[in-house]
Amino acid sequence: MSDPGAARERSEDTDDIEGIDVISPAPLEGQTPILEARGIVKRYGQVTALDGVDFQLLPGEILGVIGDNGAGKSTLIKALSGAILPDEGEIYLDGQQVRFKSPLEARRLGIETVYQDLAVAPALNIAENIFLGREIRRPGPLGSVFRMLDKGRMRREASVSMRDLKIGIRSMRQAVETLSGGQRQGVAVARSAAFARHVVIMDEPTAALGVKESNMVLDLIRQVRDRGLPVILISHNMPQVFDVCDRVHIQRLGRRVAVVEPRTFEMADAVAIMTGARPGDFITPA
């Protein structure tokens, strides 16, 4: 487990890097992207949803993906999470070319997705939700023959992952439906963070939540990043994106038109690029 403070400091250090062109991606500095896509094309009949889009997620960052409706951001995320198979283009995970035929394959390779609609089983408790589909069984024949659950161990490990994310819930035996919306999303995030080895994708994780609860989830996203897992955040909410993200990928008409850094770039300008009011220069990654 990484020291939560360390990654945070590192990201602040990058403030010192000079010469960042506002509409160009942050310099790679020899960093291999954790997740990279090149020239992804996806057509639905006559409609071209993705028109040769490139994408790069760097280690230890929160990357926002914004775009107008129809810009292709959800199609892009579906391609990256294995929900659709692109017609053209390549995807690289940790430098290795990959091809996900289903979300399960992406998950097996260490990419976890948190969905907007609070994808939990409400009547099951927190530990059961975190370990759903990946239950820990008792050691010995009790587990292998009788497929008996090791409830105690799952509760203890669930408790650790919740504590790692600083989610203060006392009992892992609590049914998820007794939690608030933010706490439920916290369970979904903890679940992804516990099992993701490479990337956590969050698809509109705050869409169903109020302001206060959204802020909790944004804190959680930072916690996940600070534990060393890069996060892709898809959101309609500009202030949230500019609040939490290290870099922002702007999607327009099926392509990436710009990557900006919220620390040095105005939100209004990003919106202008997103809507086409201001041309974003196309970027060819180094």
């Binding site: 099951l124 059961e128 990946r134 069984r137 600083k166 049914a175 007794t178 959680l220």
Partner: protein, 336 residues
């Protein structure tokens, strides 16, 4: 940032104590069925001195045995947010197949039992295939197979009751005594099945997945659980259980009856609902179903003992069902 985020806000807690029982209808729906059973038992004990005797309680269980085993299968299915209207008819088919093959076709009695169990299992599998492969709603599928099984039973039996059932088929009607109380082997089978499925549902991965798919099928699928295969297993196992119920029915009645089980589908659903399992799926417990079966059995028996007509037994059962569903609904609303 502090040591914990603001996520640490109070939510309703599951806790002990009478106060939380009253404050939280969820716990009322957990213990309500048992409470109702005890209250009914106490009431009939005060009304009839014959009620609380070993012989009478044994009778209650024997009368509840067949519906009890059907209700185990029904519970599995309802937990997945499904429903099975075909269980009674499928049981009747199994009942006729095993008795007729043995008594009239002269087949080896054990082989005949296997055939009967097989017929029921095939119907369970058929339900499961139609629901998972063609994506038809369980209500409609099992309404169809209810009629198919019913018709096959009557065609195959030529509307005749099978009487000269071999002794091997009456094995589960054998009794042993604990004190003065007669316990049939069939009763033991029922209790053992409840225990087995309690274990599966509460202690194994399969059990967790059954609850999860009833709760949120899409989320369950996204975690990598093969939900289609899971439902197929559930419906097939339920079919096999109906076969066991058919076996117990033969042992209890001593005949193969084509008209058996015609209202048992509704009786089993009644027992499941009275036991606190939600018809919306994903919540409930198998031991609740046992309690639900016994509630129906005790009320029927008790009203009989105090000389109230059979129609009133049905009336009381109907009211109880509505109360049980209302409690379930109210507790769900409380959780939102």
């Amino acid at each position: 940032m502090g040591t914990t985020t603001a996520l640490d806000q109070p939510g309703p807690q599951r806790g002990g104590g009478v106060r939380s029982l009253l404050a939280n209808p969820a716990s009322l729906s957990d213990f309500g069925p048992l409470l109702a059973l005890i209250l009914a038992g106490v009431y009939f004990t005060t009304q009839s001195d014959r009620f609380l005797s070993g012989a009478n309680l044994s009778l209650v269980v024997q009368q509840s045995m067949v519906v009890g085993v059907l209700a185990i299968g029904q519970t599995l299915i309802i937990l997945t947010a499904g429903i099975d209207l075909s269980c009674g008819a499928v049981m009747a088919l199994g009942n006729i197949v095993m008795t007729r093959e043995a008594a009239e076709a002269g087949l080896n009695p054990y082989l005949a039992i296997v055939l009967g169990l097989g017929a029921c299992t095939v119907f369970g599998l058929l339900n499961g295939l139609l629901i998972t492969r063609i994506n038809l709603p369980p209500f409609i599928v099992t309404l169809g197979t209810l009629n198919i099984a019913f018709a096959l039973t009557h065609i195959y039996s030529r509307e005749r009751t099978v009487t000269n059932v071999p002794d091997e088929h009456l094995y589960f009607g054998n009794v042993f005594r604990i004190g003065d109380t007669r316990i049939t082997y069939g009763m033991v089978v029922m209790f053992a099945l409840f225990l087995l499925f309690w274990f599966i549902l509460s202690q194994t991965t399969l059990g967790r997945h059954i609850y999860a798919v009833g709760n949120n099928p899409e989320a369950t699928r996204l975690t990598g659980i093969n939900t289609g295969r899971l439902l197929l297993i559930v419906y097939t196992v339920a079919g096999f259980l109906y076969g066991i119920a058919a076996m117990l029915l033969v042992a209890r009645t001593g005949v193969g009856d084509p008209n058996a089980g015609q209202t048992d589908n509704l009786s089993s659903i009644t027992a499941v609902v009275l036991g606190g399992t939600s018809l919306f799926g994903g919540r409930g417990a198998i031991l609740g179903t046992l309690v639900g079966v016994l509630i129906v059995g005790v009320i029927r028996n008790g009203l009989q003992l105090i000389g109230v007509g059979a129609v009133y037994q049905i009336l009381v059962t109907g009211i109880l069902v509505i109360v049980a569903v209302a409690v379930d609904q109210l507790s769900r609303r409380g959780r939102r």
